[in-house]
């Protein structure tokens, strides 16, 4: 009897020792990776690096900012944390742009725009803008789109969106202008700001591009296009291109052209657009279109000529590299490299950034943070 008892007692004391064993194998990540980039970028070019914003997972406070230096070929994971005492940049990063020597990161889940020094990545100021989405600049002012406009209580019970005007010297909101529902990207031309209203929370979406006169900062008009508008850019020929994500049923994703001189819808191009990037007279497009009819997501790539409005290619990657969930596309205007990111097949795991040469052949790839969604090129070396 006694020996059973002592055996048990010994076992109970031994067990806590097991707690040191096998914490699993943490997947190590190098903070800095050197890639053999063969970039063709010289030290005098206007692009010396880029910042990559990883969105993170909503409610996990894990958006992050990576930086790549062309001269050394070094990709730095979480550069923001390294430079800012291990801080988190916030929850759900949604856009990133550089204006002057400041880097603006729109952190949607943290309801703020983080303003950083683009030469060092150090934090300068946080500007609180509720439910902010995208940012664009014009004549010393930053314009931030946000979902948090005036509440239409007796009508739809939902909020309109708005565009906030921020002075880039004072770094504070000076004015706001209501637009449509759930505005996303913006583009500026001819003293007017165009904003794509997605209406993503509305049962039948929103289908308008709102136009704001920047001298009065009042909404001039709405241009009816199609539902669920999302991405925008101004082409080399000074036309406004705006995409729709479609309604995931019969109304599929497409690209539309608006003439900013007349603010009239002039053309539509039948390519699926989840993201696009301009290079010269081309727009590089990727589609990742989900359909409730088939319960499948269709991946596609196209190159569109902005002069002719014609699709010149239905392929961007030419060496068979497979990307599970493309999440962003960006073209380097100097060496014509094409960047496409992959958010991965499972939610919440780190993504991958692929760099292809202008012919579509893979040059290098690197592990990023979670949801590598937005990139901006910079002339600053860090």
């Amino acid at each position: 009897m006694k020996k059973y008892f002592y055996f048990i007692a010994a076992l109970t004391l031994f067990l806590p020792a097991l707690s040191s064993c096998d914490d699993g194998n943490e997947v190590s990540q190098d903070t800095e990776t050197v890639v053999d980039s063969d970039s063709g970028i010289s030290s005098t070019d206007s692009i010396q690096g880029f910042y990559l914003l990883n969105e993170g997972q909503s409610g996990q406070n894990n958006a992050s900012l990576d930086y790549y230096n062309y001269a050394t070929g070094t990709y730095s994971l979480n550069k923001f944390g390294t430079v800012n005492a291990n801080a988190s940049i916030g929850d759900t990063g949604n856009d990133i742009e550089i204006y002057g020597n400041k880097l603006y990161v729109v952190v949607n889940g943290s309801n703020m725009v983080q303003v950083l020094d683009a030469t060092t990545c150090k934090q300068i100021k946080k500007i609180s803008i509720p439910n902010c989405r995208d940012i664009t600049f014009y004549k010393g002012k930053a314009y931030v789109s946000s979902y948090a406009g005036t509440l239409n209580w007796n009508n739809s019970n939902n909020r309109l969106g708005y565009v906030a005007r921020v002075d880039t010297a004072e770094l504070s909101v000076s004015d706001t202008c209501n637009v449509g529902y759930q505005p996303e990207q913006m583009a500026i031309y001819g003293g007017k700001l165009y904003v794509a209203n997605s209406g993503g929370f509305m049962p039948t979406y929103d289908n308008r591009v709102s136009v704001i006169n920047l001298s009065t900062f009042k909404k001039e008009k709405d241009i009816k296009v199609n539902v669920n508008l999302n991405k925008m850019l101004i082409s080399k020929e000074n036309e406004l291109f705006v995409s729709t994500n479609g309604d995931y049923y019969y109304n599929t994703s497409k690209l539309y052209v608006i003439n900013p001189a007349t603010d009239a819808l002039t053309d539509s191009i039948n390519v699926s657009v989840a993201g696009m990037s301009k290079s010269g007279d081309s727009i590089y497009v990727y589609g990742a279109e989900y359909s409730y009819l088939t319960s499948k997501t269709t991946i596609s790539y196209h190159i569109v000529n902005t002069e002719t409005h014609k699709v010149v290619s239905d392929q961007i990657i030419t060496d068979g590299t497979s990307i599970a969930s493309p999440y962003m596309i960006k073209v380097n205007s100097i060496n014509k490299d094409i960047f496409i990111s992959d958010s991965g097949s499972t939610y919440g795991s780190p993504g991958i950034l692929y760099c292809f040469n202008s012919k579509g052949k893979l040059k290098w790839q690197v592990t990023t943070g979670v949801g590598p969604g937005h990139m901006v090129f910079t002339k600053f070396k860090l």
Binding site: T12, E26, Q60, A148, Y290
Partner: protein
């Protein structure tokens, strides 16, 4: 006859009780000895056959725990996901298989939630709770409803059955609990003997807490910022009324249960300008009602019959009001109504002294209505039919069961119903004692189960996927138990159970974003492999005539790997989210004359928030301690008990789920009056 006595003694030894047995001394027939209370209530727990853990009676009462979720943290092989505060959602996951695989039973009948498949255990207070028991696999009892055979693991909550000392025909107990964060929690119990064989019990409870607990978090530029949790209040009301009857060879019971609550949803704590925005938009209202009845009778020597029935209604309202939060753009005001009707019969046939068989059939109907856009109003029929047998040789016991599940659904014109599902799932349990009536016993079990996709998984507007397959789980377990009573020694009782297990789950249903973070869909994506060890040791000590001490230690080692990705992915085989490799708990409790106390400690080791086990996803280990002390006294012929409880004694700042901080040190005072 002798075999029966031996069997009864073995049963007694294996029961998890803290029976305080007087040490053996020479009997002086002129002296009146008093034996300390031996509470022999509750069902016979076949501890040697299947891994089972239970907290009951006084040990449960002494624990500084408020809800069932708090109490089961002290069991091995479980993970509780706790979103913080009294009102925060608390779900249990047994041996890593997923919280939807756990069956939760209230007085022997399963609590349904066909809508989202999990039960919030934070809702169930311990106020009227006699015992909380967790089984791995299934209860080692063939005479049970078909439902009892159908979950991968089960939690049984058993409420008090009225019992009266022979001169009393009623019991009245009033309780008042007050404490941190504006806690106000009065409750009352009235048990009444109606006739010799029928009694009733009425229990009501009200709970309010403002949920405003302080927590600390780190911001880069402002070290250790302290903030207060907002919109985390809870108001809840519970009324239970039951009738209990004894008949020749059996018993019956009927219970009405009503619960209604309103609570705030504080959301995740993320980086934000401190105090700039109020996040008071999200609130939830729940109302649950059920009427359930149970009838059990030993008809004759070889035939036992049990009939169970239940009607349940659950209402949920979720509101997100943009007027209360500038950052909220979308107005949500959803109402969900669920109805369930359940009927079950179990018949046990004792074929010989060593062989028994059981046939159980359950029928269940579920309806879900909601005011979502184009909601499909799903309706579901479930038929469960089980055949089980038990073989009881002296040193070897075998139980086996086969469950057939058939599910049929229908929807309205807005959707397509899922295909009918038909599945057979077997279980076999074997135990062996090397020495007849010895202290040591070995056991093993193999069990297959599946969990149906929930009605949300299948039909939730825009997210549901009606072609989802059920998740399938396979469990293998092998272990031993050891129980020994020592007379004439200050350590008078030791019990231990040790189990190693290997579980596999396939077709795990996972929510995946489609082309962007706003559009999600449910898919059968996951595959999981879990290996682990659960250990539990409990001891009882009689230090002196007046001083008793009990200890209870649990330890779990669990390696739960996500095998969903391809083998060449870096993240293949990563540990599942929120499952620590190492975890454990200690309870030390004691009684000295009219004083009772309990100290408890929980340790949760390293874990990751995602199966991509990278440094950025690591969550730090945490330890929390709780303590309670109580004193019973009689004043003016009335029994009073005063208790003080401190939770999170060392004010550890921690989170169970990332971005959901838990309260720091908090306390409660409890006054009980018994008439």
């Amino acid at each position: 006859m002798r075999k029966f006595v031996v069997f009864l003694c073995t049963t007694f030894m294996c029961m998890h009780l803290f029976a305080q047995v007087q040490s053996k001394v020479k009997v002086d027939t002129t002296h009146t000895y008093s034996i300390a209370n031996i509470t022999v209530r509750g069902r016979y727990l076949s501890k040697e056959l299947i891994p089972v853990q239970t907290l009951q009676g006084e040990e449960l009462e002494k624990l500084a725990a408020h809800s069932v979720a708090d109490a089961i943290r002290y069991f091995s092989g479980l993970q509780i996901k706790d979103y913080g505060g009294v009102g925060g959602l608390k779900t249990v996951n047994i041996r890593g298989m997923g919280s939807e695989h756990v069956g939760v039973f209230y007085d022997g009948i399963e609590l349904g939630n066909a809508q989202n498949g999990t039960v919030d255990l934070g809702r169930f207070s311990l106020d009227n709770m006699e015992s909380v028991t967790v089984f791995n696999g299934q209860k080692a009892e063939i005479f049970q409803s078909a439902k009892d055979f159908g979950s991968a693991g089960t939690v049984y909550m058993q409420t008090r059955t009225p019992s009266f000392s022979h001169d009393k025909s009623y019991n009245v107990k009033a309780t008042y609990k007050a404490g941190s964060f504006g806690l106000v929690n009065p409750s009352a119990l009235w048990e009444q003997r109606i006739t010799k064989n029928i009694s009733s019990s009425l229990n009501t409870e009200y709970l309010y807490t403002n949920g405003k607990y302080k927590f600390t978090y780190a911001l880069s530029d402002i070290k250790d910022t302290t903030a207060t949790r907002h919109n985390d209040d809870v108001k809840a009301m519970r009324i239970e009324y039951g009738l209990f009857g004894k008949i020749k060879g059996g018993e019956w019971r009927l219970k009405n249960y009503f619960y209604s609550s309103e609570r705030g949803f504080p959301g995740a704590v993320v980086l934000e300008e401190p105090g700039k925005f109020t996040h008071d938009a999200d609130r939830q209202w729940d109302t649950s009602y059920f009427l359930q009845g149970s009838y059990k009778k030993k008809v004759n020597e070889w035939y036992n019959l049990m009939v169970n029935g239940k009607y349940a209604y659950d209402y949920l309202r979720y509101l997100s009001d943009p007027r209360l939060d500038e950052t909220v753009a979308l107005y949500v005001n959803n109402h969900f109504h669920q109805k369930e009707i359940y009927l079950s019969t179990a018949q046990q046939f004792t074929l010989s002294p060593i062989l028994a068989a059981d046939v159980s059939v359950d029928l269940q109907r579920n309806l879900l209505k909601a005011d979502l856009n184009n909601f499909v109003d799903p309706k579901r029929w479930t038929v469960l039919s089980a055949a089980a047998a038990s073989l009881n040789l002296q040193r070897v016991k075998v139980q086996s069961s086969l469950l057939l599940t058939y599910v049929h659904e229908s929807v309205n014109q807005y959707g397509t119903a899922a295909h009918d599902k038909k599945k057979f799932t077997p279980t076999i349990i074997i135990s062996w004692q090397p020495k007849e009536n010895g202290d040591l016993s070995f056991r093993t079990f193999y069990k297959r189960t599946f969990r149906m996709p929930t009605l949300n998984d299948l039909y939730y507007t825009s997210i549901g996927n009606s072609s989802l397959k059920p998740e399938e789980a396979t469990q293998y377990d092998a272990g031993l138990t050891y129980g020994h009573t020592i007379y004439d020694h200050w350590i008078n009782r030791i019990e231990m159970q040790l189990d190693g297990y290997y579980n596999r789950v396939k077709n795990k249903i996972v929510a995946m974003p489609t082309s962007n973070q706003f559009r999600w869909s449910m898919m059968n994506f996951g595959k999981v492999s879990i290996k682990g060890i659960d250990v539990g040791v409990s001891t009882g000590w009689q230090i002196s005539k007046d001083l008793q001490i009990g200890t209870r230690i649990t330890y779990t080692y669990e390696k739960a790997q996500d095998l969903s990705l391809s083998k060449d992915s870096k993240y293949y085989g990563g540990q599942l989210p929120y499952i620590p490799w190492n975890s454990g708990s200690v309870i030390l409790d004691g009684a000295y004359r009219n004083w009772d106390w309990s100290y408890s400690y929980i340790y949760t080791g390293n874990r990751y928030t995602n199966s991509a086990n990278i440094a950025a996803n690591k969550e730090n280990p945490y330890k929390t301690s709780d303590m309670s002390i109580s004193h019973e006294f009689i004043w003016k012929k009335t029994n009073f008990k005063l208790t003080a409880e401190v939770n999170n004694l060392f004010n550890q700042q921690y989170e169970v789920v990332r971005c959901y901080p838990m309260p720091g040190r908090n306390m409660k005072i409890i006054l009980n009056i018994r008439l």
